[in-house]
């Protein structure tokens, strides 16, 4: 069961009456389904394809590479609270710092967009960290980095790496939704904070 009533409100630090709260309350369906999305990903009924520790480890990493300390802290605390989570904390935090860069970059298919190609890093996880994370989570963090910073570089080989590391097709769907949802959640929080303060 989720232990936070509305996660975006929590991350906004919303107090009823403040502007961001007013802006969210006029779109109750969006608010309700953003929370249902969070529940589906982070308080799932079925963890057979993706464990809770994997979900929160990826989330802590994704928030950290977005350079959002509040949201990263929220997910890191959640990671600490789940089975097998606390052992991953320091490694995920260190990788989040190592991997932070600026996006989006990436390649386009050969053609008129080629001049817009932009080089950028691919995450390389040090051997010692891979030993802590294991194959599955190492592959998941590499994929999360791809989706966060250079999604247009995605290709079937990236999915094959996940499958070869023990992910199922359904697990990849959930992982992809989780990283992509966070890209939304982090931006709603960032955007509304700026708007409320401006």
């Amino acid at each position: 069961m989720p232990d936070t009533k509305d996660v975006i409100d929590h991350l906004l630090g919303t107090v009823p009456g403040l502007t961001a709260d007013g802006l969210r309350s006029r779109r109750p369906v969006t608010r309700e389904n953003a929370q249902k999305s969070w529940d589906a990903l982070f308080a799932p009924g079925d963890t057979s394809q993706v464990t809770l520790a994997e979900r929160f480890a990826v989330a802590a990493f994704v928030a950290a590479v977005h350079d959002d300390q509040t949201i990263a802290g929220f997910y890191t605390d959640k990671l600490d609270g789940v089975e097998n989570g606390s052992a991953l904390r320091s490694t995920v935090e260190a990788l989040g710092e190592l991997a932070a860069t600026k996006g989006p970059y990436g390649q386009y298919p050969d053609g008129p967009l080629t001049p817009e190609n932009q080089e950028g890093p691919t995450l390389v996880i040090p051997e010692a960290d891979r030993a802590v994370l294991g194959d599955r989570l190492s592959a998941a963090l590499r994929h999360a980095h791809l989706l966060v910073f250079h999604p247009r570089d995605a290709n079937p080989a990236a999915l094959q790496q996940l499958l070869s590391s023990g992910w199922s097709t359904t697990g990849v769907v959930t992982l992809s939704q989780l990283v992509s949802f966070l890209a939304f959640q982090i931006r709603v929080v960032a955007g509304l904070k700026v708007l409320a303060a401006a």
Binding site: L23, P104, Y108, N155, L163, S164, Q177, V188, V194
Partner: protein, 200 residues
Amino acid sequence: MTDTIIETAVTNPPVAFTREKIGWTAWLKPLPEAEFTERHYEALVDKARAQSSYFALLVRDPNILEARTKTDNDIFYNTKDGLPRAERELAATAASRLNGCILCASVHSRFASQYSKREDDVQKLLDEGVSADLGERWNAIVAASVALSATPPAFGADHVKALRNAGLSDEEISDVIHGAAFFNWANRLMLSIGEPTPAA
């Protein structure tokens, strides 16, 4: 049993941003319709989406697909107040143009054109990219959407000021934020589990 990817060999793939109708093919196996339960149909929200390989793949995790779809529909279709539909679609197109989602940009640039009747400006955004000059109001919406789509997000008080100067209320600015933020979800899914195919 280990799952496998689908080997695609798309001939003549779309290589530029376009408002034409293009297709999409999955790199992972969609759920065969014979295996659909009532829960899967419910999660599609619109049952006709069972015919789409994109949604038939995403339906493998029905709970997140259903919540995602209802979030999407409210952000874009709930236009009884707030930002006009055309400008929500403009925010979606700008995010998709920045992230490089040719398929997403094609769908939402068509909507932006249809609702705004500003085909030339929408095409300019696709052709020239996110720095295209589209007039004060659209420039402010595109710049805000692009800044919010950067990682880390670079949306700041100056963007809010430009949007307010262009006549947007805070409610409408919130709609820009949600439209652009949602496409950072949509682009990453669409780009990473399959690829665009040429117009049929």
